[in-house]
Symmetry: C3
Amino acid sequence: VARAIVFLSDFGLDDEFVGTCHGVIGRRAPDARVIDLSHGVPAGDVLRGAILLRDCIAYVPEDAVLLGVVDPGVGGARLPIAARTTGGRLLVGPDNGLLSLAWRALGGVERAVVIDSTEVVLRPTSRTFHGRDVFAPAAAHLAGGAELSSLGATTPVDALTEVEVPRGDIEPGGTSASVLSVDRFGNVALALTGDEFSRAGLDASAVLEVRTPDRVARAIPGSTFGDVEPGTLVVLIDSAGWVAIGRNGGSAADLLGARPGMVIRLRTTSNPAEPKTQPRGSAGT
Amino acid sequence: VARAIVFLSDFGLDDEFVGTCHGVIGRRAPDARVIDLSHGVPAGDVLRGAILLRDCIAYVPEDAVLLGVVDPGVGGARLPIAARTTGGRLLVGPDNGLLSLAWRALGGVERAVVIDSTEVVLRPTSRTFHGRDVFAPAAAHLAGGAELSSLGATTPVDALTEVEVPRGDIEPGGTSASVLSVDRFGNVALALTGDEFSRAGLDASAVLEVRTPDRVARAIPGSTFGDVEPGTLVVLIDSAGWVAIGRNGGSAADLLGARPGMVIRLRTTSNPAEPKTQPRGSAGT
Amino acid sequence: VARAIVFLSDFGLDDEFVGTCHGVIGRRAPDARVIDLSHGVPAGDVLRGAILLRDCIAYVPEDAVLLGVVDPGVGGARLPIAARTTGGRLLVGPDNGLLSLAWRALGGVERAVVIDSTEVVLRPTSRTFHGRDVFAPAAAHLAGGAELSSLGATTPVDALTEVEVPRGDIEPGGTSASVLSVDRFGNVALALTGDEFSRAGLDASAVLEVRTPDRVARAIPGSTFGDVEPGTLVVLIDSAGWVAIGRNGGSAADLLGARPGMVIRLRTTSNPAEPKTQPRGSAGT
């Protein structure tokens, strides 16, 4: 029986790109289940895609092939690769770091190949849609049981491209971190882990100051939205393990004007009863 | 063979929430077909989700598990439940009324349990993403054939939360109703049934007046868009049985400025040839 | 084993229309794989849907049923049809031309029927959602192995509706073409083939002038985005075979203000070093 394929891209769902890749997989591996992890990665945002591919691991079938296509350099010098981890997990995508956080979490790459087999790659091969012509067929072959080596020639593991997650800038009582993502509900995930949050002493404060480049607001540490009053900001560890700013019954992102990449500063407040910061009421307006 | 799972949420498709739930289902019930009914429910709109879960019943596999996740109170006091109807249908979701219109249409709940089995719920359990950690695994277990009782302890059926669909305010010759939804084509569905429409005598009028808080327009009763001239509003019974305002070749919502929750008044006109209302031409501007 | 169903519509994914059709297919053909080619066709854009259904053929399972629902005349005079091509391929949709480019590419229609069997069409039948009540059940029956004739009475092949792709207006050194589509990345596909591009001599020019109704810019012929400097426009043959205008690391559509249906003129430039056109720098502002 075929392995599942977990498919992530920045193709969006307005165009036919995702559907065409599904079609190719359906031709090559008709029994393979395709799980669309997300196709809403911001266009070309390799880091965001890499984080999502890593964070999904505990939540997808254990033998699923991970197929990632966030590929701003499509048709250029970056190599199309397939990799097998030390634990036997299979990954397919461009060698631009997109797969690197996942394979690191999976114990590292044992073997990698450049996808160039004429049995696998579709002909004619476009130079702008390797999702369809290279990556989807490669994932389908692997899902159907093909050996990694049947996809192409081995490439040195040491030369594979990796990406790094930006770290928070931690000091006692405060930290800066960049916004990783803003979700549909307006929750603002920061590139900051719960460990870092504790190390900065932020979990000991009853009220936190949240400062963006042009706004300031107060937030209450909690563990879910309903822990604070309606309309109030809450700082919690989100379901992926990131420190995130939410809002009970509303959008934290709208209140803060937060966007991916923006740097946000969290700070303890010395006097929660009379904060030196802007009062909550007016911050909400 | 596994039952299908019909999955509805307010997660949207820009983030990885839906895909992660699919992954969890793929781990627990690899043979279960997942039918994504809709993930475009407005954030936190429990009533809208409840209506969609009810209205889908005739159009999904008869033994499908209904999985609904519109859960603004996630991680708070509301219980995560699974229910079996008198006819043997299975439903999974938060106890906030989301499932209630469906189970009522299915004859009522025979037994309900709180989902808390450590065999089912993922550990660690986030307090903000029960779709992934509680509801998707529970639905997968049921789809795979597990007994309802294996998910957790029984909870009293009488105490389950229910929601009600708002009713139109009907009087002879006119009615007010709130907007249930606006679809991609700009069709405006009202919380008004065909029966109510007839009882108000609106089907006897050749021309109807449509009045929003700040606009007025004319509409022709019909049964499909092409029954009226291009650009004209038509009042019809939509495919879910609601009275809806459409427009031939255009968006009724744009013409009317209609949004979910807005109250719209329909009225018969005494003289269709010389309506007292604003002429159609200028209503379009 | 059931055939796959390739499903294209203009339903979008915000509403429940696509999910409801999936539900109906799940009832009638529980084993049929459904491949969602795209549901993002602009509302009512039959030509765009027809092109996508044709262009997918090489990339979907060879025996898949093609199900297309872009149906602005739903419930009116146009017929709901199912067709079998000379090669045995099956297509389902409204007789408004949506299927015509696909069947022409597949060798033409051998037999067509009007879908009206009471064994197939759902009762009651809405007049506004034939995707659910007519087309999805018909596709499911065919995917499950039913004969075309079981869907309804034969209709003359000669009377079927066809659409035509607009052609570029070609002359030596220049051509006008309308915009077929703008994708998520801002790539602008023109109704112009690579052959037409060559016949106009445009491939011989080192720099092209791109002229919209209100802007002018320079573009470099290439074969992928990275062939030009970051921010620069590139004219290439896209993965579907259309001449398209892209931009390295950005949106060509934003730069040009391009929208579907807009006419764009491409022209060779006599002196690439000192173009008579607006310099690139200011074109980007």
